[in-house]
Every structure is written in C-alpha cells, then in structure tokens.
Amino acid sequence: MSMTITEKILAAHAGVDQVEPGQLINVKVDLALGNDITAPVAIREFEKTGVETVWDRDRVVLVPDHFVPNKDIKSAEQALLIRQFARKHNLTHYYEVGRMGIEHCLLPEQGLVGPGDLVIGADSHTCTYGGLGAFSTGVGSTDLAAAMATGETWLKVPESIKFVYYGDLPRWVGGKDLILYTIGRIGVDGALYMAMEFTGPAIEKLSMDGRFTMANMAIEAGAKNGIVPPDETTRRYVEGRAKRPYKFYQSDPDARYARVYEFDVSKLEPQVAFPHLPENARPVSEAADITIDQVVIGSCTNGRLEDLREAASVLKGHKVHPNVRLIIIPGTQEIYRQILKEGLVELFIEAGAAVSTPTCGPCLGGYMGILAKGERALATTNRNFVGRMGHPESEVYLAGPAVAAASAVLGRIAAPWEVAS
C-alpha cells in the first residue's frame, strides 16, 4: 500500500513494512539530543532507570546552547551537570563553548543527521532536520531519558498534510516568509499532531538553509514534524558531510493526506508575524509604521550563513538607526568563521551592530538582549509569545533576515527594498 515519506521512515525504524496514521509504534532512533535546559532533567530520570551506560555513546548528543556561555551561577551548574555526564559516558558528540552552536544549526552542519534518519530531541525545534528529508521531532526530558537508556521511543504515526507551493519566489522572499504565511493560513494548531510535508516547484528551488527554516517552524503550527522531500540540493549538502549512511525516501504518488493546500507564492510579500502568536502573519507593507527598539538576527530559525549574507546585503553601506540595538548571533562557530572570512563581521560592526558568539540567548528571553517593559523587538526567531524575549509587557514581531536588517536601519518595521536596491 502507498505511504508518505513520513510513514516510510517510521515503518523502517519500527521494522515493519507498513504503518498507518493513528498506529502506536515502537521505533529505533538514530540520534537522541538534549540541551542545557532539558538534559539536566533527563539525566536525573536516566539515573532512575538503573541503566549504567547510555545505549550508544556516538548517538546521544548533548549541546549546551541556551544559557551558555553561562549567564549566571545556576545556569553554570546546569551546564556542569551535563558536562560531567558527557565525560562519564564518554559521549562523542558533546559540544563545549568555543566549539558549539545552536543545536539545530549544529547537528546538520556537523553531518550528525542525514536524510531518512529518525531523530528525537528534548527541544521542540528538533523538527528542523525535516529539511533534510529526515523524520525528527521534539519530545520531553523523560522521553529523552528513556531513549538514552534503550535507543528506542514510542510514537503515534501522524496523519500528513501536504503543502504545494507554486510559482517563483519573488526577490527578498524566502523560507521564513513561506512558513509564516503558511502558519498564518492554518493557525498555531492547524497541524496539531500531524506531519507537514512541504513540496512543489518553489520548494524544489529553495536552498537547504531555507528548507531548515521551514521545517524548524512546523512546531509553530502544532505539527509533530515537518519534512521536505530530499533531492539534488539535499544530496549536495550531505555529500562529504554525513557521518553515517543515509537514505532518500519519497512519498508515493498516491499516498494519503488528511488535507492538501496549494499556494501560489509568485506574488508573496515578505511576512511579519505580529504579537503574540506566530499565526498573526501579515505582509510587511501592513506593518510599516511600527517603531522598534531592538532587532535580533539569529536563532535556529534564521542564524545560518545564507540568513546572515542576506542581512548583510541589506545593511551594506547603511547604519543602524540611532534608536535601535541590532544584535546578530551566528548559529555556529563554523558560520561565525565563515562570516568573518567573508568580511561580514566587519560590515556588521561598521553598521553599528553587536555580533555575539553562538547562543540561543535572547530568542527564549534567556539573556543577551532582554526587553524592558513596553519595548518592542523585531526578530528572526520563531516565537512571539507573551514575555518570550523579556518583560511580559514587551512585544516581539517575527520576520526573515532581510526585513530585520531593513528595520534595523530605518528604526521601524520596513521592507528590504526601502533600504537595499
């Protein structure tokens, strides 16, 4: 019988020929991930199982990224806990400050995830790796603990929704705009418990970085996973990078979908999501009068090389508006090195921006750019919930890197073409 790409990956990891939506299955995981917020809880639970060593020291990945470099004593103690655990279990993939990155930028870059993999992570944006044609999903700390002990987890096979994007993407419109637009259409629970499959001519032309951005925000529609069918673009990305063998799966032409959406994106404007939900997406031209105090360009959604290059292309030759703080956070050390090489760090500093070492930082209101009461930020991050970046009475608008850079220059939410030619 025919299956979707998500169903095929799940079936393969459950060791069966066929799965159906709704079925509860036990699956082998290829990788299990934790960070400095979720791993301490997982470690405590892991120790309760009585298991002495992790199931596979090459496949349990720990990345301290949320509050590191440690922002205070408590976060230092959490980071210490996972460092000690990583040493005790001799984990191959533990990433220390100076070699680390935001987990969802880091894992694909380091070749730890490949197409056809099944990955769980104690972080909701683990769904990012769907950009590679993998099944990946966020779980809690206890689920991570169980997987660290057994190498397995249980999942309910999700129904799939197919999204087909037609048309050529206009200049300045990218993965972030497509996903904000999509969430705007279906709502923050529009794909609850489901798989979002992103397809169509516009996706085929989208870069890997743009695909990661789209899969990253599947959780913002309540989805279990987001997935892009792997193709030549995927192959070029993983070749020479992947640390394990990988497999390309494709949905059968007659696979069953709960719903199918078709969007013509040839006239889409860059999108901005208004507070306090990602579903409040509107074209940037409807946001043009809103003044801002801070702009953040970074996060697991838009802290990749292509994002920073795009921001630079808008900022070039301009200065950050006197009323705005622009904070730029490359996703990984490798991205940092690359923007240094390309002269972008200098360009950013020249423009009046702060450039940080990789960290989640302000994305979750951790540190490095917390908003005061009444302040307003535009960020390339993924959530604009109440209090997400600081005071419960501050506001976050979400957009892609081009809008973010243009807004930093004009001191209000702005379209890229108002600044760059």
Binding site: Q78, G121, D123, T142, T150, K156, V188, G222, R383, F385
Partner: protein, 167 residues
C-alpha cells in the same frame, strides 16, 4: 472521584512560556519551578491555587517548547489535573511521562466556569461539575498511555521492561 477542586480558567493557546517563563529555566528544581507556575498568564495564580485545584483551558494547551518544566511546575503547584479542549502534542506526552493527569474534553472546557467545583473520575472518563450539577465526557486515553500511567510514569515503565528482557 480521584481529582477534586476549584476550577481556574484559561483561554486558548496557553504556551509553555506563559506556564513557566524561560527566565526561570536556569533551574530544574520542581519546588522553585512551582513558585512561578502560570506566572505570565496570571501573576497571582500561585498565591490563589489550593491543593487539588484544576486548570481548565481552551484549545492547544501547552503549545511551544518541549520543556518538561511546564507540567512539572503545574504538578508541584498542587494542581490535581488539567482539562482542556485540546493539548499541544509534546505537552501531552510530557504530562503522561511525569504523571500529571490531563483530560481532553471540549464539552467540559466550554461549560466549566472559573470557581466551579469540579471532580474527575479518570477510570470512567467522567468530569463532574458539582457547582452546576452537570456531567461531561473526557476523551478516552489510549491503552498504551494507560499502561504508562499504571506503571507510574515512563521511567518506571521502561525500567520494568528492561528488567523483564534481562531475565
């Protein structure tokens, strides 16, 4: 009736940042987390809530991050269970895994008002509104999830399984 208490009502799409803001995630101590439960949705909640009380919310409760700190803070604050129209999926898993009882019931989420005295019979999946003298049905828990609850959470479930395979 296993769970009984006063209802505290919240709206749709209550996210994990509202349940436990990230500024408190530099700790995983359950007591400390409980002290900030629901803080960005209702800053006085922790002062008002009494042991056994019940949170009643709209759709997509617990959306956002995977932080298990969210159900932990609710449980430690003394809330006996959460009733909602629907739950975000990671929150749903986490609640079962750590032993916070949750019930999906669009009917109850709609009808129960703040301050109502509510009692839940989990075995029968029945929610009783003692103030209004009404009864609502909760969606049945899948059998596998029930096994996790019966084992006392996922870790016990996994430990038991590991022990039996080793024998």
């Amino acid at each position: 009736m296993k769970y009984r208490g006063k209802a505290w009502k919240f709206g749709n799409d209550v996210d994990t940042d509202a349940i436990i803001p990230a500024r408190y995630l530099n700790t995983s101590d359950p007591r400390e987390l409980a002290g900030h439960c629901m803080e960005d949705a209702d800053p006085e909640f922790v002062q008002k809530v009494r042991p056994g009380d019940i949170i009643v919310a709209g759709k997509n409760f617990g959306c956002g991050s995977s932080r298990e700190h969210a159900p932990i803070s609710i449980k430690e604050a003394g809330v006996s269970c959460v009733i909602a129209r629907s739950f975000a999926r990671i929150f749903y898993r986490n609640a079962f895994n750590i032993g916070l009882p949750i019930f999906e019931s669009p009917e109850a989420a709609e009808a129960i008002q703040e301050g109502d005295e509510v009692a839940v019979d989990p075995e029968r999946g029945v929610i009783k509104n003692l103030t209004r003298n009404e009864e609502y049905k909760a969606t049945r828990v899948p059998e596998f999830m029930q096994q996790i609850i019966d084992a006392g959470g996922l870790i016990n479930y996994v430990s038991n399984k590991l022990k039996s395979t080793r024998r």
